[in-house]
Amino acid sequence: MLHEHSLTALRDMLRRREISSTELTRHCLDRIAQHKNLNAFVTVDESGAMSAAAAADEQLARGEADLLTGVPIAHKDIFCTRGILTTCGSKMLENFVSPYDATVVERFHQAGSVTVGKTNMDEFAMGSSNETSFFGSVRNPWDPNRVPGGSSGGSAAAVAACLVAGATGTDTGGSIRQPAAFCGLTGLKPSYGRVSRYGMIAFASSLDQGGPITRNAEDAALMLQCMAGFDPRDSTSINAPTPDMTTLLGTEVRGLRLGLPKEFFDTSVDGEVLEKVRESLAVLERLGATLVDVSLPNSAAGIPCYYVIAPAEASSNLSRFDGVRFGHRSEHAEELVDLYENSRAEGFGEEVKRRILIGTYALSAGYYDAYYLKAQKIRRVIAQDFETAFEQCDVIVGPTSPTTAFPLGAKTQDPVAMYLNDIFTNTVNLAGLPGLSVPCGFDTAGLPVGLQLIGKFMDEASLLSTAHQLQQETDWHQRMPEGC
């Protein structure tokens, strides 16, 4: 079936004109409608997609194919898109239409891809289960009673259910990698600064990065190729050329030193998850990689540090949602203070409000040094731990998440338990490094397990080629959920 093909394969089929973009896009839209129960999309842009597909077909007929001409993709609803809703999973932006396109969205336009819609997400990307969305929970295609992970849960569910072959996500503490792991996908969080943040609604500016969620590493490389690159509109964008990720995929893992931090392989991790991770490492070892024991001694401080820095930045980033220039405005706004307090109380959900409050607290007079400044110091300690570990290895490996996908509602009453999902992912954001989750097996419940690869700064190529080599030897990434 058409939808079973990878992004790269579809791209090639379009180029060879074996299929048309109109046909493929129609197929995707039909599947999205069939799988509405997953709640993967907030907005489906049927007319926009069909006209983009028609234009792509004309372009293909002229033999002028760009990187992704005619390929349907979906954007996480955190990326601003001109002309269609951008909600960020929030009531606050329920009716918000951005007057401009995010740089990432623009680049996909330029590459010729067809945007079929905007995917569901945790509200303002704050969550690890996609249950904080104002538009309802997303279901995991592998088990509809379980979460898809978050915050890019809609993107992960859409790709896992083969509604689209690739989707964008964003990752502030694990929001690409954890849902990729929960849904059996390949998800890449690039190095901080690799992908422009312009037009990507900010959660925690010093941690946020956009990246691809796809079925395999080859597709992730292709999407990254499209997304990455210098953007003068983002002062933290790195002014360096993007290597050709797709040609680097062939790099052998022979001689590659894989570092296993002992802190990532302790008893807090589900036994089956550890087992699958070790099995995949054995595959890589067989391909000539060497396994090295390393240590990231301060990882335990990662979660507390992250839950100061991310909410602190968020508390400031989300101040612009005040009911004055855009977004939800309360009907109870007689006085200015009511306009602010009621619009924000009504427009934001519980988790977002909790994080704004904790972030405000951490920055407030008398607490700044003990919380925010302390967290910034720990951040350096954590970054230095990675540097030290990378003296002994090329790529750090471990589980993406301590468990596989958990049941809907299991952790919604306990924010702290939810936060601990990010224990292996958020230190990577704190250090600004690239991280990738690749499928490495299934537990006995039939749920996917993710292996996380962490690279040196700007070394996405090693992560993608390692994942690609693993995928030449394994077929976990080719399995599909029942009924999809």
């Binding site: 500016s205 002062s235 933290t236």
Partner: protein
């Protein structure tokens, strides 16, 4: 008890960039509401700031001009608070590490010359404007000004009188205009001032509780507002009360200060480094380049005017109070073949009075430096008297004869009568016409000679050289 006041000023100078500090919107004044507010300025979701190079260079220029340290690395921070004219809910400013630290300005008042220390100057973005006219009982928000680059210049509390505060402010005003980093237009809010004011018994070292005075945006208001606030504080203390630390607004119509509503709650700005903006680096090479391009500073120019043009300190100070006036002077002197003192007198006197009457700046003066210089030459070569020159000046101001000085003199027949015969004729006529007065002079009442000179001048429509008339009368009546 005798009190002394302690004043520190915070001046917000809008930098004269074309575009905003973090966006490509225009900074031009006076556009229709919100037509110069792009996605970045209104803080749309997803937008990011990108810093304007010119704003950084202008800040560094100021630092060098006041002898401050231009910090090689400075950090932008977010100052968080909610206000409708602050679109993002935070202002991008500099907090712990500003672009400029230290420096000083020297001021001169009747009390003498004094050095006022500058604490710091930092870059930040301006807020928008709240328009309180009635919009269905609501306030309207115009964000055209939001994101205009500001340099906030903070002085140490070194000022001890409203007069010193005004002197400091004027000095700063001249400096930023000379440096061409701020147009100094106070009506348009390009140069704004807040003051921190406290009082203490004279001789005491500890500072009293201060109030912050806002909205004192003209030199006149500064002095009045400060006097009011100082008097208010003294009467509170003398009545046994205590000064409350608060922000007060100067109301120029009522001519009083009152506490600002809505600002009474304790501030907790939650400053933290802006994660969207890496540190601003100004390196040695930048500094060297800026230093090499610094214009002559007002103090140096004043000193040069005294030594090179033999002007009095007062004249030099007046001329260098605005760099455009000083420029005008130097150009006019050149056209006046080096006659500097007379040129200075004409600029500080006649020209200033015409400019004030017409309420225009010197750059818009219809009498150009070339015209004034030419006119000075005609005074010098006695073609016209000083008095007649004023008539010529007036004609030039009105645009007569396309500004050709000689043509004006010719066409109006204002050439001074230097022809002795013609003057002698007039003198004789006057002696004949006023025999009583002539007799008085002959009898020794020399004062009366002034009357006769006046009559001769009148008879010659002022064109006779008064000195020559005087001499001739004396010769006729006394010799």
């Amino acid at each position: 008890m005798e009190f002394e006041c302690v004043i520190g000023l915070e001046v917000h100078a809008q930098l004269m960039t074309q575009s905003k500090i973090f966006s490509g919107s225009s900074t031009a004044y006076g556009a229709s509401a919100n037509t110069q507010a792009c996605a970045v300025d209104i803080g749309l979701p997803g937008v990011l700031p990108v810093m304007n190079r010119q704003a950084a260079l202008m800040a560094a220029t100021f630092g060098l001009a006041v002898g401050a340290t231009v910090n090689p690395v400075s950090v932008f921070a977010r100052k968080n608070y909610f206000y409708p004219d602050l679109p993002k809910g935070y202002q991008i400013s500099q907090y712990e590490i500003p672009v400029v630290s230290g420096g000083s300005l020297e001021i001169t008042t009747e009390a003498g010359t004094k050095t006022i220390r500058i604490t710091r100057a930092h870059l930040e973005e301006d807020a928008g404007k709240s328009l309180h006219e009635d919009f269905h009982g609501m306030t309207g928000i115009d964000l055209n000004r939001a994101g205009t680059p500001l340099l906030e210049i903070v002085s140490e509390p070194d000022l001890r009188s409203p007069a010193e505060a005004v002197a400091y402010l004027k000095k700063l005003h001249t400096l930023v205009r000379t440096l061409k980093i701020c147009d100094g237009n106070m009506q348009e809010g390009s140069f704004r001032c807040d003051a921190n004011v406290s009082i203490r018994p004279r001789g005491e070292a500890a500072l009293g509780t201060r109030t912050e005075l806002k909205n004192i945006n003209s030199f006149r208001f500064v002095e009045r507002a400060l006097h009011h606030e100082i008097d208010r504080q003294i009467s509170v203390v003398e009545a046994g009360g205590a000064i409350v630390q608060e922000t007060r607004l100067y109301d120029p119509d009522a001519d009083l200060t009152r506490p600002m509503r809505g600002k009474e709650e304790a501030h907790d700005y939650r400053y933290f480094p802006d994660p969207d903006l890496p540190p601003l680096v100004i390196d040695e090479a930048d500094i060297a380049l800026i230093r090499s391009q610094l214009p002559e500073l007002p103090d140096a120019r004043q000193a040069r005017f005294v030594s090179d043009y033999q002007l009095s300190e007062d004249d030099a100070a007046q001329l260098t109070g605005q760099s455009e006036i000083a420029d005008y002077f130097e150009s006019a002197v050149e056209h006046a073949q080096g006659e500097s003192r007379l040129t200075a007198n004409w600029i500080n006197g006649e020209l200033m009075s015409w400019l004030n009457k017409s309420d225009i700046g010197i750059l818009d003066s219809p009498v150009t430096p070339a015209m004034l210089g030419q006119l000075i030459c005609r005074i010098q070569d006695k073609t016209v008297s000083g008095k007649i020159a004023k008539q010529v000046f007036a004609a030039l101001w009105e645009g007569d004869s396309d500004g050709d000085v000689d043509a004006v003199i010719q066409s109006k027949g204002l050439t001074q009568i230097t022809d002795t015969d013609a003057i002698a004729q007039a003198v004789n006529d006057v002696i004949a016409g006023f025999p009583d007065q002539a007799e008085q002079v002959r009898a020794g009442e020399e004062k009366v000679i002034g009357f006769l000179v006046g009559q001769v001048m009148k008879a010659t429509s002022g064109k006779a050289n008064p000195q020559a008339v005087n001499e001739l009368l004396k010769k006729q009546l006394l010799d």
